[in-house]
């Protein structure tokens, strides 16, 4: 909208999107087949190979696409306006991710405040409760489901609390990495970013330990009623995002060691750090609503 766009930049044709589309196709067919076969026979058939091919292809696509992109960026083909487009695009992408998590938080709030009390007879449901499951009590965490399946609740002390601190600290370190980049302090940038990546890895390792603890000691499983469902889907999708964010930041670290980015031109780094802050905020909501309350 200002004088930055005296001359527009329109990118050349690219083969990568169609490669990505084929990869999506293979992943969907493979995963669809694998899931159906596992539920029938307990083992996967050809679906898994299609899935793996798809995942390999999408990684190949990402490398190719971003390699072209980096080449164009470092040879100065991108202009200010394109940078703004990228930043706005990333912001809207993060907003869409927020809405994805909102669906699962919505399910959590609904089951806690509506479906579980109703099943125990709240509102005008006294007869339903009396006829269906007269012994069912509405408590949260739902350690005994209406059908009688039992589990133990995961407390917030211990691993979850440590993980909260780790993510909070990592959000601070990634911020200082960012200021390091903006002030051209490459040393601070490298150290702070490396610490962030390390903290991301520690978080993931601790979460794996937490899952093992949940399955082995608490009998808290994915199929342990809505408490287990919401617990694993929320923390699981969050963990997946931490994993992707860590990979994203790690690639930024490699690029920084390769001498990429300067104080004014660092969209990819900025996107990675925004993503990391987003993952951190989601975790804070998780910690409050899944673990503490």
């Amino acid at each position: 909208m200002t004088d930055h766009n005296e001359k527009y930049y329109v990118p050349e044709q690219s083969p990568w999107p169609i490669v990505g589309a084929i990869a999506f196709f293979l992943i969907a067919v493979g995963a669809g087949n694998l899931v159906a076969q596992i539920s029938q026979s307990g083992t996967g058939g050809w679906g898994r190979y299609v899935l793996y091919t798809g995942i390999a292809l999408i990684i190949f696509m990402l490398f190719g696409w971003f390699r072209d992109q980096i080449k164009e960026s470092t040879t100065g083909m991108h202009n200010h306006q394109l940078g703004v487009s990228y930043r706005q695009g990333m912001s809207w992408f993060i907003f869409s991710e927020v809405m994805f998590f909102a669906a699962f938080f919505g399910a959590l709030f609904y089951t806690r405040t509506i479906s579980v009390p109703w099943l125990a007879g709240a509102g005008n449901n006294a007869m339903t409760a009396a006829v269906l499951w007269p012994n069912f009590e509405a408590i949260w965490p739902l350690t005994t489901t209406p059908s009688g399946q039992t589990t133990e609740a995961m407390g917030y002390q211990g691993l979850p609390l440590i993980n909260t601190l780790i993510l909070l600290v990592s959000s601070i370190t990634v911020h200082f990495a960012h200021t390091g980049l903006e002030l051209n302090k490459r040393g601070q940038l490298k150290v702070m970013l490396a610490i962030t990546v390390l903290l991301g890895c520690i978080f993931l390792a601790l979460q794996v330990m937490e899952y093992i603890h949940a399955y082995r000691d608490l009998d808290l499983r994915l199929d342990s009623g809505v408490y287990g469902n919401t617990f694993y889907l929320l923390t699981g999708f969050h963990g997946l995002h931490v994993f992707l964010g860590t990979v994203f930041l790690f690639i930024m670290l490699l690029r920084i060691f390769a001498g990429h980015f300067d104080s004014s031109n660092h969209f990819a780094f900025q996107a990675a750090s925004w993503y990391w802050h987003f993952v951190d905020v989601v975790w804070l909501c998780l910690f409050i609503f899944v673990y503490i309350l």
Binding site: K7, P17, F93
Partner: protein, 530 residues
Amino acid sequence: METSLPTHSDNHAAHHGPAKGIKRWLFTTNHKDIGTLYLWFAFIMFLTGGAMAMVIRAELFQPGLQIVEPHFFNQMTTVHGLIMVFGAVMPAFTGLANWLIPLMIGAPDMALPRMNNLSFWILPFAFLILLMSLFMEGGGPAFGWTFYAPLSTTYSGDSTALFVFSVHIMGISSIMGAINVIVTIFNMRAPGMTWMKLPLFVWTWFITAYLLIAVMPVLAGAVTMVLTDKYFGTSFFSAAGGGDPVLFQHIFWFFGHPEVYIMILPAFGIISAIVPTFSRKKLFGYSSMVYATASIAFLSFIVWAHHMFTTGMPVAAELFFMYCTMLISVPTGVKVFNWVATMWRGSISFEVPMMFAIAFIILFTFGGFSGLMLAITPVDFQYHDTYFVVAHFHYVLVTGAIFSLIAATYYWLPKWTGVMYDNKLAKWHFWCSLISVNVLFFPMHFVGLAGMPRRIPDYSIQFADWNQIISLGGFAFGLSQLIFLALLIKACRKKGEPVPAKVWDGAEGLEWDLPSPTPYHTFSTPPKIK
């Protein structure tokens, strides 16, 4: 708005033509190519979904079971709905957005052209998966396009996983498309193209894109929960584990109601472009149109449970959703009023786009009125899941969304191809469509009010007469679209009278200052807007 265009020698850098052969379409980053791909894909899907509707109407031609098994009938209703919503209407509007938004705001292309290509090309694959699943053992999805639990969890077939992943891909495509549109409008407007100078098609798409980014991820969440409930033992939608099948409906309709406006807001933008052109007047109440669109978008988030009045929600909730729903008729009424006021004392001419636009205004309003009836909670108890509902949403989607898409095609097709379409065929297409669509959907109100349930392959004998008429209307409407196909092929092969830059003498907007057909690259340097 007055514009001064740069001369052609200014933008030699981007002035090479399209690539040769198939590479042009596979690797393209050009908004016009991608728009064309979207539009043709949507039209092919429209014919595919239409063929399924023909199967439905053939089976319902008389009571009893004649042609298809009930299970196959259910697959037809399901896939017809999915294809028409996600494969026809939404991609067609995205195609129009691709073609028109850069031209209307003076941008060289969409903001993120390569992602634009990706968001198109994953779409045919998603529908390939969906259609392939019909041929699987046990058949394709048969639980209705709304895939209510437990139909989609406990009682669904093996193809459910493929259904889930294909919906994921459709969602990814829509989100990427919407991000592209919204960033284009924010960041690519030519200098001087201020917000309140934007054509209404751009405004309505801007708000639509926001709705898409907000609700498509919620749909992804819903299908993910269906997947885990079916295959991984979770019980989000099963009371035995503390969940609730009604939770599915809440999540689905939190997506589904804004989705309804995703399919109609761009239509409002199209009608707001066509009516002033052929009335030779400025649009009445431009700013109120913008605020009305925004109000509808806001309200669309707080009305979803009007699809669920019969699920036994607390009375307070039913009342809240009833009143909020009825409130939507206020901004919608503003729009209809403004279109009519635009025509008032205009020197109207009845070219085919205008005829479809006028049909839209009348028939969409009609569909809106039956929507108001459905919004009234106690009355909805009777209407719920009857053909009255089918009549309502086909009036707003076929004579609403689809008619606006056809109107848009006639309106901008000469600009795209450089030749005038075959006016005789177009008039045949209009009158055949208009008459048959009303024969098709109008009597559905009667059988619905009389209690005929939807999604059932058989019916009580007293509905037979009207159902025969409905089916005849259906076949006629289906055949009428083949006229459109012939017309489109003819226009794309450039058979017809060449048209000037300003195809319609009353038209306003940047796109009408460009030559017809539009060059492959436009606005490589920004136009000056006064």
